[in-house]
Amino acid sequence: MRDKYDVIIIGGGVAGTSIARELSRYEVDTLLLEKNSEIGLGTTSTNMGLVCQGGDGSAFRPGTLHAELNIKSIPEWPKIADELNIPFKRIGGINLIRNKLDYGRALKSLSRSFRSSLEENAPFYISEKDFKFLQLIDGDMVYDMEPNLVEGFIGGLYDSNLAVTVPREVAYAYAENAKANGVEIRLDTEVKGVRREDGYYILETSDGVYRGRYVINAAGLYADKIADLAGLRTFSFVPLKGVMALLSREVGELIKHALVILPYLEEIPITKAIIPTVDGRVILGIYLEPSVKGDLTYDESMINRLIEIGREFIGDYISRDYIEEVVVGQMTFTNLETGWYEYVVETPLRVYNWINIVLGPAGISASPALAKKVIWILNTSELKLGMKKDFNPRRRVRVR
């Protein structure tokens, strides 16, 4: 254990671990602190596991950091999945269209995704070989692709890029690879106080005192608390509770693609989605509700609502009996009052060696580009990032 570190990352979720892994490419002493006794127990575990989202223009408003990081991550994912041996399955997704209103929104999505990705002069261009363009498909094609859907859909917006992974597995993989490349990881270490002294941040934790020149605050739901301790909070968010149901393999056989119905305005913030998992099951969700930090309760009405949502997709195939597990978690959600959520990756005014990070929906998907963005920010500071010669990008396969 060293006395001083170049960079200390607070938080062992997907944001913290992806940055740790990216930093392990360079000659810097990095420490990662995690409050829990395992990696990825917070907001990371609540993610639905969708990656390579870029086509979903309805949620990805062009010009936001949220869109930028997600779109830039699309080309990275196959490489990362291969290097780190993460389960990764390209399933494709369909935004289903019920009526003219949906059709209008689908057209809007289409134009937005085009604006933010493929156009040469788009703010974050990715090449055509990494990103297959979205397609508007008609009703017949929808039922060809998904024969078990209930009747009534007149078409869909098909996104062939969409893939699924296992969120916590991603965080594990990042962390293990980072550790193998020299990043120190301390579990069960909660940050209790932050001081500034002689150009170092002094982090008082439940397990000793750590000094770091640079601090990356990626504490997820508690990022605001940590930033408050340091007096460097520039953002606020509301914890949004999500309730999802994990359905058994019988239902999993009926669905091949990630299916989404755009909710009507009065139903927001509910998201209507049914998503096959890597292991052949299905995630049904997602009931969303702003709630007090740490509140992980759910009741019958929420489950019934989920079943109703499921029935909008595949009718009576869905019932209580198929629910294997109910997953409840919280995610950070900025701009609740407008619903225009946005990521936060920024250094507060007048301070150059503290980075606040708040991800939100689709955080797993954005993690590769997030890590690169943080490195870019660190590169503009006085921290010298020299390449490590013996960096090994591959993770040893481990059977758990």
Binding site: F235, F237, V238, P290, V292, K293, T338, W340
Partner: protein
């Protein structure tokens, strides 16, 4: 804390929201401004302003909060849906409708239970601060006391908190009817206003008027008639444009420091005489 308790926007919760906003504002070195929390109907529950605030921000903050609660939407959304023409709607509402960022509805259990308004910084800063208030509702921390007992230097927001907490203590102690408590500076501009949980919304403006009257006329609010002429109807003191807050109802008491009037305290409940008693008692104690 369950969601049910949370969705009752009471004085305690509102104080927490305002304090978090003030903390955020100080942390980010934003100019001192005004902070308001209103209930579902748009009536103030808590108003506080930082020392050195621009006095014009007082009503902007209150009107922003009112807009958020009654339009049930954020200023940013209203900007978009009115396509920048929102000011036209103002004609309808005597200029109250304030479609400027920093206007955030309080959302709980899928409905709007109140509004938050901040004025004092740029539009972006106002929005960030108002959002900090919304986040405070959900952070699961204990609400701070109205006045934490720290030493007060001079007349300002800390003094207003102290005097208001004394008045509330006194009212609760004696079992008097719940009231609204307003503290204004020597120009009659609002510094802080608190509405107790069972005080009807109508008491708000009464309390503010009483405080205004006592502060700018430097007398107990009922003594303002001495400035008038007994032969004229209403003593010739008709509330007109410049003095529409003028009220001769008892309950407003000037606050004096070193022999000089520095502000006014106004308390309004169903019985004005008790209000005056409470106000005098609170001032006596501090």
């Amino acid at each position: 804390m369950s969601m049910k308790d949370l969705c009752k926007l009471d004085l305690k919760t509102s104080i927490k929201i305002v304090r978090k906003m003030i903390r955020f504002s100080e942390m980010n070195h934003i100019l001192p401004g005004s902070f308001a929390v209103v209930d579902e109907g748009g009536h103030l529950i808590v108003f506080e302003s930082r020392d050195g605030r621009l006095t014009a921000t007082v009503d902007i903050a209150i009107d922003k909060a009112w807009t958020a609660a009654t339009m049930k939407a954020s200023g940013r959304i209203l900007e978009v849906i009115t396509r920048g023409q929102g000011w036209r709607l103002n004609v309808k509402h005597k200029g109250r409708l304030t479609i400027i960022p920093g206007t955030v509805p309080i959302i709980c259990e899928r409905r709007v239970i109140g509004g938050i308004g901040h004025s004092g910084g740029s539009a972006e800063e106002d929005l960030l601060i108002a959002q900090a208030g919304l986040a405070a509702l959900y952070d699961g921390e204990e609400a701070p006391p109205l006045y934490d007992g720290r030493e007060v230097k001079g007349f300002g927001i800390e003094f207003a908190r102290m005097i208001a907490s004394k008045a509330i203590e006194y009212i609760l102690d004696r079992g008097y009817p719940h009231a609204s408590i307003a503290v204004v500076d020597r120009w009659g501009e609002l510094i802080a206003l608190y509405r107790m949980d069972e005080a009807p919304p109508g008491t708000l403006e009464l309390a503010r008027d009483k405080a205004w009257t006592s502060a700018v006329f430097r007398v107990y609010s009922e003594d303002v008639v001495k400035y008038g002429c007994p032969k004229l109807p209403d003593y010739g003191l008709k509330p007109v444009n410049w003095n529409e807050r003028l009220t001769p109802i008892p309950g407003g008491v000037p606050i004096k420091m070193g022999g000089e009037v520095v502000g006014g305290l106004g308390i309004a409940s169903i019985s004005p005489d008790i209000d005056k008693l409470t106000a005098l008692k609170a001032i006596e104690e501090v």
